[in-house]
């Protein structure tokens, strides 16, 4: 790839991910079909096969799904430059929109109707988060190990208020040890 062609491709990636960042509501997972359409179907920047790997990789690496996907697609199609431009593209709309909103939010919060609205919204948001817990639960292990980890994580963070980071590190190690043992015993492939 010549230098010119590389920059052209990187700018194209920036444009695509800027559009995705500016028009997707609901974050990471909602972006995947759009990413697939824009980068694999409309333009052949990346293979369809690789798109299906994105979700798997984004889920097994830390960080927001949107950033993981943008970086991955950018890198696979145009190297480090591509990944930087794609990530910048997906972040920039949020950054601008939220900065503007932050300035206004303070002012409207004094309005009594806005306060009433947020009184209702808080209960609605809690329902949204509770639904996310249900979704995460469906995708997790429901065996003795999984349930034990869930209960332990709840007690650790909500009751004991110990460090979430320490818990994540501990659970990752516990998972590796358990799965190695389970594979040896033939419980798991």
């Amino acid at each position: 790839m010549s230098v010119n062609e590389k920059w052209r491709k990187a700018l194209q990636l920036f444009g695509i991910f800027f559009k995705i960042g500016a028009f997707t509501f609901g974050g990471g997972y909602a972006m995947i079909p759009l990413i697939e359409y824009e980068t694999a179907e409309k333009r052949q920047l990346i293979d369809k096969q690789e798109i299906s790997d994105i979700v798997a990789i984004a889920e097994s690496t830390p960080g927001p799904i949107a950033i993981n996907s943008a970086t991955f697609v950018g890198y696979r199609s145009c190297g480090v430059l591509g990944s930087a431009m794609a990530t910048l593209g997906v972040v920039l709309p949020s950054l601008c929109i939220i900065m503007v909103i932050a300035f206004f939010l303070r002012q409207v919060m004094d309005n009594v109707y806005v306060q009433y609205a947020f009184f209702g919204i808080r209960a609605g948001v809690l329902a949204l988060i509770a639904k996310a817990v249900v979704n995460f639960y469906k995708r997790a292990d429901h065996g003795v190990f999984g349930i034990t980890v869930m209960v332990a994580a709840f007690l650790w963070s909500a009751i004991l208020d110990w460090s979430v980071i320490a818990l994540i590190a501990l659970c990752a190690v516990a998972g590796i040890v358990y799965c190695t043992y389970a594979r040896k015993k033939g419980w798991m492939e």
Partner: protein
């Protein structure tokens, strides 16, 4: 220095969040609220704002906390912090992603982490209960107060709608309308 603190805090949040989006909430609760940057109530309110604006929750949240604590430069530092761990890790993984995908270590860690996120998120919801249901100075002894009953009815209705896969934006609009209505009628 506040800019470095914002960068560092969101860097660790980005580095230790698995599953994306709301899975950040337990860490945000622990780091952002304990730092005194925002109250839990402001964070719950912001989840609604983030759902009603485009873009990933992680970036929206980092930008908001950054702006509120240290202006535009703060927003840039916090956002850079939440993005950087992902960016670096994916650059490394993208080179050898077939090997990464088939790694037994990764699948073992994720097996446990998927369950961990459930417990952590349930903990986050538990922590938000007083903020949502007892916000208007309602004490546990007055669970028959109109504030509590209105919140409870809105919560249950919205949970049913959410489980029926109603779009989050519609859900937030409905809760806002219900909030204004109950405010005018009972509060």
């Amino acid at each position: 220095m506040i800019y470095l603190e914002l960068f560092y805090t969101f860097f660790t949040i980005g580095l230790f969040t698995f599953g994306g989006g709301y899975a950040m909430l337990p860490l945000i609760q622990q780091k952002v609220v304990d730092n005194g940057w925002l109250t839990l109530e402001e964070i719950v309110d912001f989840v609604a704002v983030s759902e009603s604006t485009p873009g990933p929750f992680a970036v929206n949240c980092a930008t908001y906390v950054g702006t509120e604590t240290a202006g535009i430069l703060g927003a840039i530092c916090a956002t850079l912090g939440v993005v950087l761990p992902s960016f670096i890790i994916i650059l490394i993984v993208a080179r050898c992603y077939i090997r990464f995908k088939n790694s037994k270590l990764v699948s073992g860690a994720m097996f446990a982490l998927r369950a961990t996120v459930v417990g952590l998120m349930a903990g986050a919801v538990f922590g938000m209960l007083p903020t949502v249901f007892l916000s208007a100075g309602v004490s546990l002894s007055s669970l028959t107060s109109p504030e509590f009953l209105c919140s409870a009815v809105i919560f249950v209705t919205m949970l049913v709608l959410a489980l029926k896969k109603v779009s989050p934006i519609i859900l937030i609009l409905c809760s806002a309308a219900a909030g204004i209505l109950s405010g005018l009628l009972f509060l």
